[in-house]
Symmetry: C2
């Protein structure tokens, strides 16, 4: 029987498999850290704790990431890029700007009630280095720009009341972000139910629609 | 000329003056810390930095407060008690529940755009000890209870649309809190203008009131 001299690591298939394995393990490190950061805060979570939760050693954690700063940056980046990709997908599907806005809000709320998104809202970028924060702000600004554009377009198409799109985008993000601050999976209402209720209140307002409001703002 | 043997510190007037002086200086320490915490985060602000900003020494800071934890606790407590007191005052003035709710929202927004309130929203209670956090949660729960009650009463009086008061209170607090996250004094709009715009959007919603909305939530 012929034998082949195996050169360890030389086969691209083997390398691909190892790369994939590494990718899966790195993702597990990030996801676990995101959950712990959201639960205990960034400064309340040591890499020791992350390692413990994964039943690996602290040095093993360092095989997948360079520093705690890198972990948080990656968690925040992943969440923001998920939001950005979903916003793009919703806009690609077309329909009225208002339909697109509702779709983006729904996806946004969905993402911030999951590990990376909850870390994004609860921890944010303030513990990051200046350089990492700048990168985060760039993606945030891009998402914000899309939201404002969808609000403006919805006003132009006659679905939303005239408003300052910047302020409206803050109201939307502020109200939705608050879900991630108190939501616990397995509570009374499901994340989807809560999101729908919030979106309804943001769009329709808390006031009764069948009578004019006489308050002065 | 007759002389009086002065016993330093024995006079209640002198003591009162010293107590008042101490109170003023302690307030300055807290207010400066609140501003720095809001700007740089709790972990990004050393007591050294607080002392520097006040042009005093670090040991002098310790003359007014025991620890960094105590400072943050006091900042958060003061902000929450201001909100609670304003809510009580608004309710004491009477009027419809809706009028009271608007008054509370306005005061709430006003407080969170000032030093202690901004610290409350941006830093929150997560860096605090378990015991301090429990005390904070107690005041928060009391404010939340008032808000929910005012929402429910506004629904009962026919001013707000039927809703889950718990969810509505979260939408209100979430949208208003977001102001404290990006607001910078001296920007384009004044805090009062922004608050009014936000309250209008929360009550009226972003949708047009003159046409029924056909979106499914």
């Amino acid at each position: 029987m012929a034998t082949v001299a195996r050169t360890p690591g030389a086969s691209p298939w083997r390398k691909a498999a190892r790369d994939q394995d590494r990718e899966i393990k790195r993702d597990a490190v990030l996801r676990t850290a995101a959950r712990l950061f959201a639960e205990n805060g960034y400064h309340g979570t040591s890499l020791e704790l992350v390692a413990e939760a994964l039943e690996i050693s602290r040095p093993t954690v360092y095989f997948y990431i360079k520093s705690k700063d890198e972990i948080l940056f990656e968690c925040v980046r992943i969440a923001l890029e998920m939001i950005e990709a979903e916003a793009q997908a919703a806009m690609d599907r077309g329909g009225s700007a208002f339909e697109q806005l509702i779709a983006v809000m729904r996806k946004y709320a969905e993402i911030i009630t999951m590990d990376f998104g909850m870390c994004l809202v609860r921890v944010g970028d303030s513990p990051l280095t200046e350089e990492s924060r700048r990168k985060v702000h760039k993606i945030e600004a891009s998402i914000d720009k899309r939201m404002r554009a969808l609000v403006q377009q919805s006003v132009d198409e006659g679905d939303l009341a005239p408003c300052d799109p910047k302020m409206a985008a803050f109201v939307i993000a502020g109200a939705l972000n608050s879900i991630a601050r108190w939501y616990r999976p397995g509570g009374g209402k499901s994340a989807a139910e809560i999101c729908n209720e919030f979106i309804g209140m943001i769009v329709n307002g808390l006031g009764r629609r069948d009578k004019p409001l006489d308050f002065q703002v």
